[in-house]
């Protein structure tokens, strides 16, 4: 078998991929393009089709229809062992009957590379585990097993490295450390990484581009900052961080601002930061962009003001406090305030007003699920 192994990553392109399982559609008409050398994250809740997508790229599932192009070549019909793609599995899937070194050497042995063991040793050295080469995988800790799995995949220099929630089984501190190491290794080797995860912090922290997936479709794709600052759908607004969302009919829309009528109150956003400008739309704001005040702030066209409402819950999370504020006729609003020791109000039950700058609002293209579109 002639496999083209290139030292650098290759472009991956999915065209109209669809995967049906008996009774449901896991992936529905998915298009995706990942440029060579990029760290790309596929983010979504469990059951959204992200793992199925990854397994189709690895060849462990075959798509019902569509094309998978790697470096411009369709690999959809190729068997998994013929694809220049390697996977770091969620549970690592290390071979228990082989030493760590033999595990790492497995792939290059299959490719009949000369001197597989020295290469495997080099790969182990990269993840700083050369001293454990003769151990069995089950004698290693979770973090060490994870690194062995990474070395076992990277030693092959695949055109594309797939990571299937590889950090899911690690504790928080170790996960942070591995995220940093993984990112550093990716920069060093320059391979294309496709990372599947349900951990939004992990995706935003490591990836150059994040695609948020839901129900077999990509909801939104972009750089982490863009996704966070400008979510386009209610799903993204809620899955990636938290959002306060207000739904109402557009009351006024000009080239500068778009406002909705929300239970008699006017909530305004920038027209340029809104996907829709007519009918019933949803406008949201991130909790950390909101402030609360004991006195009603002076009315200002650059400010959305709601209130007064009552603080019903305060949660201390370390760097910031989370306040739940119940405003009559508006509902619950979440406000994050940095824990800098000068929060104006901290007692439960206090009456406060909530405000945020108009330019921090974002208008969504759809309505949250469960809300009927009115004609």
């Amino acid at each position: 078998m002639a496999i083209d192994f290139v030292a650098r990553g290759q472009d991956l392109e999915l065209k109209g991929i669809r995967k049906e399982f008996p009774g449901f559609v896991a992936v529905d008409n998915l298009d995706l393009k990942i440029p060579a050398g990029e760290f790309f994250a596929l983010l979504g809740p469990s059951g959204c089709g992200k793992t199925t997508t990854l397994r189709m790229i690895a060849g462990l599932e075959s798509p019902t229809q569509g094309e998978i192009l790697l470096g411009g070549k369709d690999i959809a019909g190729m068997k998994p062992h013929e694809r220049p793609v390697n996977t770091v599995f969620q549970n690592y899937a290390l071979f228990p009957h082989m030493s760590v070194l033999e595990n790492v050497a497995f792939g290059i042995r299959q490719r009949k590379v000369a001197e597989p063991l020295p290469q495997a040793e080099k790969a182990l050295a990269m993840v700083e585990l050369e001293h454990l080469a003769q151990r069995r995988p089950q004698q290693l800790s979770g973090g060490q097993q994870q690194r062995v799995a990474l070395a076992r995949a990277l030693v092959n220099r695949p055109s594309l490295l797939l990571l299937d929630e590889p950090l899911g089984a690690l504790d928080l501190k170790l996960r942070r450390q591995m995220q940093i190491e993984l990112k550093a290794i990716q920069m060093e080797v320059g391979l294309t990484f496709l990372h599947v995860t349900h951990d939004q912090e992990e995706a935003m922290d490591m990836a150059d581009t994040v695609a948020v997936m839901n129900n077999g479709n990509i909801e939104q794709l972009g750089a982490p900052e863009v996704l966070y600052e400008r979510p386009k759908t209610a799903f993204v607004a809620k899955f990636l961080g938290q959002s306060n969302i207000f739904i109402g009919k557009v009351a006024e829309s000009n080239s500068e601002t778009t406002s909705i009528d929300f239970n008699g109150k006017k909530i305004t956003g920038l027209t340029s930061r809104s996907e829709k400008h007519s009918g019933k739309i949803a406008i949201g704001v991130r909790p950390e962009k909101t402030n609360f005040h004991e006195e009603e702030p002076a009315a200002n066209s650059g400010l959305n003001i709601l209130g007064p409402g009552e603080i019903t819950d305060i949660r201390f999370t370390g760097v910031s406090n989370q306040y739940q504020i119940d405003i009559p006729n508006v509902g619950e609003i979440t406000v994050f305030a940095q824990n800098v020791g000068r929060s104006p109000v901290i007692e439960l039950g206090a009456k406060v007003f909530v405000s945020w700058k108009v330019e921090h609002s974002f208008g969504l293209a759809d309505l949250p699920s469960g809300v009927e579109e009115e004609l």
Partner: protein, 304 residues
């Protein structure tokens, strides 16, 4: 030692010897008592019998205590062909049973993993022969292979068999009967092992450029070694001592006798108890040596 292969090997831990040791001893007592009564005692009795010498009174079947090692030499010189045949048949039948059972076990455990109904039906089919007595089943084969049976007649009509050919009493019939009777003992341990096979390891193998055949050879097969060892032991040991299939009452003939048949004849017909005991002791000792060497060589320590 040899039987470690049957269980998972829990690493021996240094525990507090005083309290834990006493409790363990109490828990072990019934087992030790059982072993002493039903294993050690007959074994010692057997060894004593194997060393007896003919009674001076000269009656048939009467022997006195003695240290007659000549019984062993006599047994070997007299029954070398049967001893050799026993182990050859056992080896051959075990290998054939493995070749038949492994694909069955693999199909049930791996291919039918997501189809519980199919899996249940297939497992029932594997176990189904046990619903009928071992003797009856072997006897049924005797009828199927008997000289005027449908099968033999068809083979003769087609011309594969000559007019005076027969199956009963041949080595083929005996090995066939042994394989048939012991297939479930081979299939079930391998099935139990493969049922726990982590298919993600197989996927990892194919992801690392190993073809399906290589993945099987380098991952599935080595990981199923404990099941194969259990299965081959559960087949090889009883077959070595089997005295039903090869007997003339069933599928055997004058030239197919195995140690079991000789021991039976010496004990029950010729009443030469020392020779029969000597044969039994040698059979046991040989099995222990062979099996120990086998388990040691297959390196179960390297497996989970």
């Amino acid at each position: 030692m040899a039987f470690v292969a049957f269980g998972s090997q829990a690493p021996a831990k240094d525990q507090n010897p005083t309290k834990g040791g006493r409790v363990a001893l109490w828990l072990l007592l019934p087992g030790l008592f059982y072993l002493g009564l039903f294993f050690i005692t007959p074994l010692i009795s057997l060894i004593i019998t194997s060393l007896k010498q003919p009674s001076l009174s000269g009656g048939i079947g009467r022997y006195d205590l003695g240290v007659e090692f000549g019984n062993y030499a006599y047994a070997i010189s007299q029954y070398a062909p049967q001893i050799f045949r026993s182990f050859s048949f056992a080896l051959l039948a075990t290998v054939i049973a493995l070749a038949i059972s492994y694909p069955i076990a693999y199909f049930i455990a791996v291919r039918a993993r997501d189809r519980p109904l199919l899996k249940g039906i297939l497992l029932t089919l594997v176990v189904a022969p046990f619903f009928i007595s071992f003797l009856l089943r072997t006897f049924a084969w005797k009828q199927i292979f008997s000289n005027d049976s449908f099968i033999v007649n068809v083979l003769k009509d087609v011309g594969i068999f000559g007019a005076d050919s027969y199956i009963i009493g041949t080595n083929f019939a005996v090995v066939f009967g042994l394989v048939y009777n012991f297939i479930p003992f081979m299939t079930l341990p391998i099935y139990a092992n493969l049922d726990r096979l982590d298919l993600r390891l197989v996927e990892a193998g194919s992801d690392l450029y190993a073809s399906p055949a290589t993945t099987f050879r380098k991952i599935t097969f080595p990981l199923s070694m404990p099941g194969i060892i259990s299965g081959t032991l559960l087949t090889f040991i009883p077959i070595s001592g089997d005295y039903v299939v090869a007997s003339r009452d069933f599928l055997g003939g004058p030239d197919t006798a195995m140690i079991g048949n000789v021991v039976e004849a010496n004990f029950l017909r010729i009443q030469d108890y020392p020779t029969a005991s000597a044969l039994s002791v040698m059979l046991m000792a040989t099995i222990v040596v062979l099996v120990s060497a086998y388990v040691k060589r297959s390196g179960t320590d390297d497996l989970l």
